[in-house]
């Protein structure tokens, strides 16, 4: 593989994998704290699925000559992470977590439906696997958006507030990186504009049918290299054990 293409591929895979890892960690923060037992288990399952997806994708990075999954997850500082700010925001209330999950699940579904067709075989294989779980994830968050959006005035108010806060952050998922063009040309990654079009078809009608108003706020303008202070706090927590004894074997 051309070095330039290889580097672009590693960068893009890291972006997708970091989104999974950070959101997986955020969702894991609900374990033992979710509003009901059944959802505690459901969200812990989903968190574990997202971590599993990150491991799959980091594995491809490692095969391309990058670091292994443990090093990538536990020994990078915030400025080396390529996740969007959407996934690093604190978990908020249940409405916030469910709205974010819905917006993200729809993105993942749209992304992996295209990535499943990637000309780079390891990605196509990983995506086929990830897609199976994402179909279920989306069904889960889709159901919650509907029930809380149309539930009580209190649940609707919280959902709308969450949507208003989260909406500007979503745009970052669809911003192409500087080296995206060769990935699209090689058919390794889809153009994000096509992913976004599919995402809007999933998200907008369902939000509106769930009694929510889709905001028209402008997206934040930040590259994936820029993070909020929330990511530092998250990493300090997530990486604490691994960094306290880097030589330990598990």
């Amino acid at each position: 593989m051309e070095p330039q293409l290889q580097q672009a591929l590693i960068n893009r895979l890291l972006a997708v994998a970091d989104d999974e890892l950070i959101l997986g960690h955020r969702n894991a923060e609900w374990t033992g704290h979710a509003p009901i037992l059944e959802e505690d288990i459901a969200l812990a399952n989903i968190a574990q699925d997202e971590l599993g997806h990150a491991v799959l994708l980091y594995g491809i990075v490692a095969d391309l000559g990058g670091d292994d999954a443990d090093t990538l997850a536990m020994f990078r500082d915030a400025d080396a992470f390529r996740n969007v700010q959407l996934v690093e925001l604190p978990k908020g209330d249940w409405a916030f977590t469910m709205v974010r999950q819905f917006l993200y699940d729809a993105y993942e579904l749209a992304l992996h439906q295209r990535l499943r067709e990637s000309a780079f075989r390891p990605i196509a294989d990983a995506s086929a696997k990830i897609l199976q779980e994402e179909i279920y994830h989306l069904r889960h968050s889709h159901a919650w958006v509907e029930r809380l959006g149309l539930g009580t005035s209190e649940s609707n108010r919280r959902m709308q507030a969450a949507l208003d806060t989260l909406w500007p952050y979503v745009g970052q998922l669809f911003v192409e990186s500087a080296d995206a063009e060769i990935l699209v040309k090689a058919d390794y990654f889809p153009a994000l504009a096509s992913v976004q079009a599919h995402w809007e078809q999933i998200v907008i009608p369902h939000l509106e049918a769930s009694g929510l108003v889709v905001p028209d706020t402008a997206p934040i303008d930040a590259p994936r290299t820029v993070h909020t202070a929330h990511l530092d706090a998250l990493l300090a927590d997530m990486q604490l054990v691994a960094r306290s004894d880097p030589e330990a074997t598990w």
Binding site: I36, L37, E39, I41, A42, N45, Q132, E133, R139
Partner: protein, 181 residues
Amino acid sequence: MDTQWPRYEVFKQDTPNKPHQAVGSVHAPDDNMALQMARDVFVRRPKCHHLWVVPADAILMVTAQELEKGLDSAEPDSAPQPFHVFRKDNQRRSMTYVDHVGTINATSAHAALKAAREEYGDDAFVWWIVPDSAVITSDDVPVESWFAPALEKTYRHQSAYGFVHPQRQGRRRSQSVESEA
């Protein structure tokens, strides 16, 4: 005020040739969420071919002791409808409760129970009679998304991590060093 959501009993069928078995219950705001929660709670890892959830209120649950004392079976008859018969024949299993043994057409749950005791023998520890009309099935879910991923998620006991044993050895070694000193 009772703020608890209604309870649904969950019946899991492991493979096409096995009966549906009661595996536990979930609380849920509605039928679809109940099915979804049943999947999350009971099918994260174990094998599953098919899932039912049934509102607990809709099920006639009777123990052998209650049958001995005599039941109050006053219940209006309706048009004949199918009832699923479940029985518990084993006191040793911890993960399942009653097993599906057959389906009977009857005009009420108690009439179905009476027929079931004649048909399947009167020696069960527990009977559950479930009207078919109350069953919510996983027929319409994408099976490969709901049940297939579980097959790759084997449960690992802590010993699988090879962590506890070396820890113990390390502790023993440091203890013997201390006692030699």
